[in-house]
């Protein structure tokens, strides 16, 4: 009866995607929040081109981070509401497969929002945001946020103040990812020489590996305590 790690993880991701395709609860909430945020920033910051180059990556990442927090809260709350997390934990599968399944789903939902944001912000801010290196940094940054966020959402969803608690505990822990992602994006948008900024995506890769390792190791303890 033993189910392989990937069979279990991908089944959980497929289940999340199917439920989301039907309800569109997560992507609609995250997408609407992201749209409103970039519009508000666009109106609030009437910037010249130089100031825009400096500010736009900050706007992008602040929007992605808060949209991902909304999605993470909802994704884990869905597992708690009808007690289905207990049903997952009762299945003869590895606890880390549950983490991997939820993580892949959360990553994909946030990535969709991020990829929609790029052309939208390129238009609103008149900046070349749709370019390969920005997409690479977006991917790496979202892996980091989704990893830390999935673990922390598993913890905070069991508390009464989960909506407010997740950003409070997540933002300090995800700061290295946010810092590297903003610096890399700003340099890329400023057409800085690659040698000047390539260290930031490399730091993102290292941060992602560290977060993935730690979160996979900690998940079983978090889910059972």
């Amino acid at each position: 009866m033993n189910t392989s790690f990937w069979q279990a993880a991908l089944s959980i991701t497929r289940k999340d995607l199917r439920a989301e395709l039907r309800s569109r609860e997560l992507v609609n909430t995250m997408g609407l929040f992201a749209l409103l945020s970039v519009l508000v920033f666009s109106f609030a910051l009437e910037l010249d081109r130089v100031a825009r180059q400096e500010a736009v990556s900050g706007v992008l990442w602040v929007t992605v981070v808060f949209a991902s927090i909304l999605g993470l809260n909802r994704s884990m709350a869905m597992e708690r509401e009808q007690g289905s997390l207990d049903a997952l934990l009762m299945a003869p599968i590895s606890r880390t497969a549950i983490f991997a399944g939820k993580l892949i789903g959360n990553f994909l939902f946030t990535l969709i929002v991020g990829l929609v944001l790029l052309p939208l912000m390129a238009m609103l801010y008149n900046m070349p945001l749709v370019q390969p290196w920005i997409v690479v940094v977006l991917l790496l940054g979202i892996i980091g946020f989704a990893t830390v966020g999935t673990l922390l959402a598993t913890m905070t969803v069991q508390t009464r103040a989960r909506e407010s608690l997740l950003p409070i505990v997540m933002l300090p822990l995800a700061l290295p990812v946010l810092l590297a992602a903003v610096n890399a994006s700003t340099a890329i948008l400023n057409n800085a020489p690659q040698d000047d900024w390539i260290a930031w995506p490399q730091i993102l890769v290292v941060a992602d590996v560290v977060y993935l390792t730690l979160c996979f190791l900690l998940f079983e303890y978090v889910i059972e305590s």
Binding site: T3, K15, M78, Q82, G83, A87, L89, M90, P92
Partner: protein
């Protein structure tokens, strides 16, 4: 306890949350095929015992053996033998009944589960609603689907945590029938409930837990329902629900 072989055993099982001791050195033995009703006031440790047997939480000390496997060290083997039904549905409301069962069938690595899913949907009277979203189901229908989910992998042990919560009279009657059918099919059943009359009627053994310890343990036929109610009140200081 019945003469059948032992299936579940706890030895000096203790569970504490920080300073709050919920179960105190509990020794319980349950034989294969028994239908045990766990009774006791709120906070007595009934649900905690069920969560421990399901491997959802770890004991503070003591041993739990299910089918010869020990928890928590052999949790995966134990979980494969257990089905859980709770007062929550443990289902995904944005999936259909069939999609829910298919999802759990994949987690239990069941080969070609469609026939088994159809059989179970017929058994719980939901075959025609198999492609309806769970969120459109009544509470009683969700509970029946939850039982189908718990039976999917043909577990030896079925754990029911207050399964009658929120059910109307008709749905409760249907649940009685499903529980008795499950016992007839050879499943060992452990059910927490506050409904002493129902427990005395459908279970084969009554186990009252009071303040984390076994206060009463006897076959359901040992005492008439009225005497059992009086004994429960005397033991716990609480009035039993009808």
């Amino acid at each position: 306890m019945s003469d059948n072989p032992l299936l579940i055993e706890t030895r000096a099982l203790t569970k504490a949350y920080d300073l709050l001791v919920v179960l105190r050195r509990l020794d319980v033995q349950i034989a294969r095929g028994e239908f045990v009703a766990l009774l006791g006031p709120n906070g007595s440790g009934k649900s905690t015992l069920l969560r421990l047997l399901a491997g959802l939480t770890r004991p503070t000390s003591g041993k739990i053996l299910v089918g010869g496997w020990e928890l928590p060290n052999e949790a995966a083997a134990v979980r494969a033998q257990i089905g859980l039904v709770s007062h929550k549905s443990l289902l995904y409301e944005n999936l259909t009944a069939r999609e829910n069962l298919r999802f759990f069938a994949r987690l239990y690595n069941l080969k070609s589960p469609d026939d088994r899913i159809d059989t179970l949907l017929r058994q719980v009277g939901l075959y025609k609603r198999g492609d309806s979203l769970v969120r459109t189901f009544s509470r009683g229908m969700q509970q029946r689907l939850s039982i189908a989910r718990a039976l999917l992998h043909e577990p030896d042990v079925l754990l029911f945590d207050e399964p009658y919560t929120g059910l109307d009279v008709d749905a409760s009657g249907t649940l009685d029938d499903l529980l008795l059918q499950a016992q007839t099919d050879g499943h060992t059943i452990i059910m927490t409930t506050h409904d002493l009359d129902r427990a005395a009627r459908i279970a084969s053994r009554i186990l009252i837990i009071n303040r984390g310890a076994v206060g009463y343990d006897a076959p359901a036929s040992a005492l008439p329902a009225s005497e059992l109610t009086a004994h429960y009140t005397q033991l716990t200081g609480m009035t039993a629900s009808a």
